[in-house]
C-alpha cells in the first residue's frame, strides 16, 4: 500500500504529466509546457504590474468573501432556527442557486457600472447562497437527541445555542464557507474577465487578446495555487472540528 500522505504528490505528478502530454499533442502555440509556464510565472511575480492586478483582485475577492460569509451566515442561521421559514425558503434558495449567475451579469453591470463594486457584487451572488444553504442545513441537521439531552439538563435557550447548536453545526458551516468562498473567487474573476480595467481576470483577457500563451498559463497556475490553498486550509479546519481520525 502507498501511504495516503503521498496522494497529493502523486496527483501533482499526474497533472504535470497530463499537462506536458497536452503540450506535445496541441503544440506550444496553444499550451505552454509546465517548465515554460513556471519560468514565466517566476518572471511575472517580479513585475510590479502583476502585483497591482493581484492587489485589485485580492481586494475585490476579500470584500466579496466578507459580504458572502456575513450575509450567508445571517440568512442561513436564521432560517435554520425557524423551521417554518426554513421550509418555505429551502426550495427558493435551491432554485436561485441553480440559476446560471452569468445571465445576471448585464443587470449587475447596469446597476453597479464598470469597476470594483460590480466585481464584488458578482462575487457575492455566487458565494452567498451556498453559505446560506449549508448553514441552514447545518443548524437543522443537529440531531434532536442533542436537544433532548439539553432539555434533560434544564438548559436555557442561550446556553443551548452556545454550547450545543454552535459547536454541532460548525463543521458543516465551515464546509459551506469553503464552497462559498471558492465560488466567490469564481464570481469575482468572471466579473474581471468581462468588464474590468484592472485585476488578474483582466490581465488574463489581455494576455488572450495578444495570444501570450505562457502568460495565460502562468496566471492560471497562480490562480489555481491560490484557490487550492484556501480550500485546503478550510478543509483542514473542518476535519479538525469533526475530530475524526
Amino acid at each position: 500500500m502507498i501511504p495516503r500522505r503521498l496522494d497529493p504528490i502523486l496527483l501533482m505528478v499526474a497533472v504535470l504529466a497530463l499537462w506536458q502530454g497536452l503540450e506535445l499533442i496541441a503544440g506550444p502555440e496553444v499550451v505552454a509546457s509546465p517548465a515554460v509556464t513556471i519560468v514565466h510565472a517566476i518572471a511575472l511575480v517580479q513585475k510590479s504590474g502583476f502585483w497591482q492586478d493581484a492587489a485589485e483582485t485580492g481586494l475585490a475577492f476579500a470584500l466579496a468573501s466578507v459580504i458572502s460569509i456575513a450575509g450567508g451566515l445571517l440568512l442561513g442561521l436564521w432560517l435554520g432556527l425557524h423551521r417554518f421559514a426554513g421550509d418555505v425558503a429551502d426550495p427558493i434558495l435551491g432554485s436561485l442557486y441553480s440559476i446560471p449567475k452569468i445571465t445576471l451579469y448585464p443587470l449587475i453591470l447596469l446597476i453597479f457600472g464598470l469597476g470594483m463594486s460590480a466585481k464584488v457584487a458578482f462575487g457575492v451572488i455566487h458565494g452567498v447562497l451556498p453559505i446560506a444553504i449549508f448553514s441552514m442545513n447545518a443548524v437543522r441537521g443537529v440531531p434532536p437527541i442533542h436537544l433532548k439531552t439539553a432539555r434533560m439538563l434544564r438548559m436555557s435557550k442561550l446556553s443551548i445555542a452556545i454550547t450545543i447548536l454552535a459547536p454541532a453545526a460548525l463543521p458543516e458551516i465551515v464546509a459551506g464557507i469553503r464552497v462559498g468562498v471558492a465560488l466567490t473567487l469564481l464570481g469575482t474573476l468572471i466579473g474581471e474577465l468581462f468588464a474590468a480595467t484592472t485585476g488578474i481576470g483582466f490581465a488574463l483577457i489581455r494576455a488572450t487578446d495578444v495570444h501570450d500563451v505562457a502568460d495565460i498559463l502562468a496566471l492560471t497556475l497562480m490562480l489555481f495555487l491560490f484557490a487550492a490553498s484556501i480550500n485546503s486550509l478550510l478543509h483542514f479546519g473542518e476535519r479538525r472540528m469533526r475530530h475524526e481520525r
Binding site: 440531531p143 437527541i145 442533542h146 433532548k148 439531552t149 432539555r151 434533560m152 439538563l153 434544564r154 438548559m155 446556553s159 454550547t163 450545543i164 459547536p167 454541532a168 460548525l170 472540528m241 469533526r242 475530530h243 475524526e244 481520525r245
Partner: protein
C-alpha cells in the same frame, strides 16, 4: 423512605396526540396507574409503538399527560424536567466536538458545580466505567458501546434520584448488551437512584429489574407485573438461574398477543393457534 427518594406516582395518566397532517387524534397511552418506589429498578416491556417512550417522556417532564396526574416525589410533574432526573437514550447522544472527559463533565459545568468537584466526580465516573484511558479521545474514535458508556457516565456524575433509560442498549450487540447490563446494575447500586428502563428485550428486563411491567398494544396500558425477587447484588450471571427462564416465559406469555395485535395480525395469530 424520605420525601426525596425518587418515587413516581401516576394516576389515570393518558396521552392523546392531537389530529394533524392527515391523521386523526391518536390515543397513545393509558389510562396508566403505577407507583414506583424510591430505589426500585423498574422495567417496561411492550409491543412496538405502544406508548412506552411517551410514558417515559411524561415521567421525565418532557411532555404533559392529557388527563390524570403524574407526581415525582410527591410534587406534580408540570411543564419541565424536575431537578434530579437523568436520562440515557438509544440514540448516540455523545457530543462529537468534546472529548470523553468534557462530555462527562458537560452537565456538571452547565449546573455551575465548582471545578475541583467536577474533576473529582468525572475522574471517579471514568474509572468506574472503565473510561479513564480514553479521557482525551473523541466519540468518533470510540465504538458504539463505549459512546453509550460515555452517555451513562455523563448522567452518572449528576447523581440523579431518578434515572430514565429509553432502550439504552438497543443499538448494541448481544454480548455488549450483557456487559452493559452489568455496568448498569453497578451504577444503580452506586447512586441508589430509582431506575425506569424501557426495553424491547425480555431477557434484559428479566435480568436487570426488581419488577417488570408489560404494556398492551396502543393505547398502552399495564396488563401484567412480574416481580423478580433477585438479590440487589445481582449481575448478568443470573441468566443461568433456574427461575430466569420462568420469568421471561411469563413476560412473553403476557406480551405475545399484544405484539401480534400491534403488527395488525390478529387473523394470523388465530391461524398460528390452530393445532397441526
Amino acid at each position: 423512605m424520605s420525601a426525596n427518594s425518587g418515587k413516581i406516582a401516576l394516576r389515570g395518566v393518558t396521552k392523546v396526540f392531537a389530529a394533524g397532517n392527515g391523521h386523526g387524534a391518536v390515543e397513545a397511552l393509558g389510562p396508566v396507574d403505577i407507583d414506583i418506589a424510591g430505589g426500585e429498578f423498574f422495567s417496561v416491556v411492550g409491543p412496538s409503538g405502544c406508548g412506552k417512550s411517551t410514558l417515559l417522556d411524561i415521567i421525565a417532564g418532557l411532555s404533559s399527560p392529557t388527563t390524570g396526574e403524574a407526581d415525582f416525589d410527591g410534587k406534580p410533574l408540570a411543564g419541565g424536567v424536575p431537578e434530579g432526573v437523568g436520562a440515557v437514550f438509544q440514540q448516540d447522544a455523545s457530543f462529537f466536538w468534546l472529548n470523553v472527559w468534557d462530555n462527562v463533565a458537560f452537565g456538571l459545568r452547565r449546573k455551575g458545580v465548582d471545578a475541583a468537584e467536577i474533576r473529582r466526580r468525572v475522574s471517579y465516573a471514568l474509572s468506574f466505567m472503565g473510561l479513564t484511558e480514553f479521557a482525551s479521545a473523541y466519540p468518533a474514535q470510540l465504538s458504539g458501546g463505549m459512546r453509550q458508556r460515555v452517555c451513562i457516565a455523563r448522567t452518572f456524575v449528576l447523581k440523579p434520584r431518578l434515572l430514565l433509560l429509553d432502550e439504552p442498549f438497543g443499538a448494541l450487540d448481544q454480548q455488549t448488551r450483557l456487559v452493559m447490563g452489568d455496568e448498569l446494575l453497578r451504577v444503580w447500586r452506586e447512586i441508589g437512584a430509582t431506575v425506569i428502563l424501557i426495553t424491547h428485550s425480555l431477557e434484559e428486563a428479566a435480568m436487570l429489574s426488581d419488577r417488570v411491567a408489560v404494556m398492551s398494544a396502543r393505547p398502552g396500558r399495564f396488563i401484567d407485573f412480574v416481580v423478580t425477587r433477585w438479590p440487589r447484588s445481582r449481575d448478568s450471571r443470573i441468566i443461568a438461574d433456574e427461575r430466569f427462564g420462568g420469568i421471561t416465559a411469563r413476560l412473553w406469555g403476557s406480551l405475545r398477543e399484544e405484539s401480534l395485535k400491534s403488527l395488525g395480525n390478529i387473523g394470523g395469530a388465530a391461524m398460528l393457534d390452530e393445532p397441526r
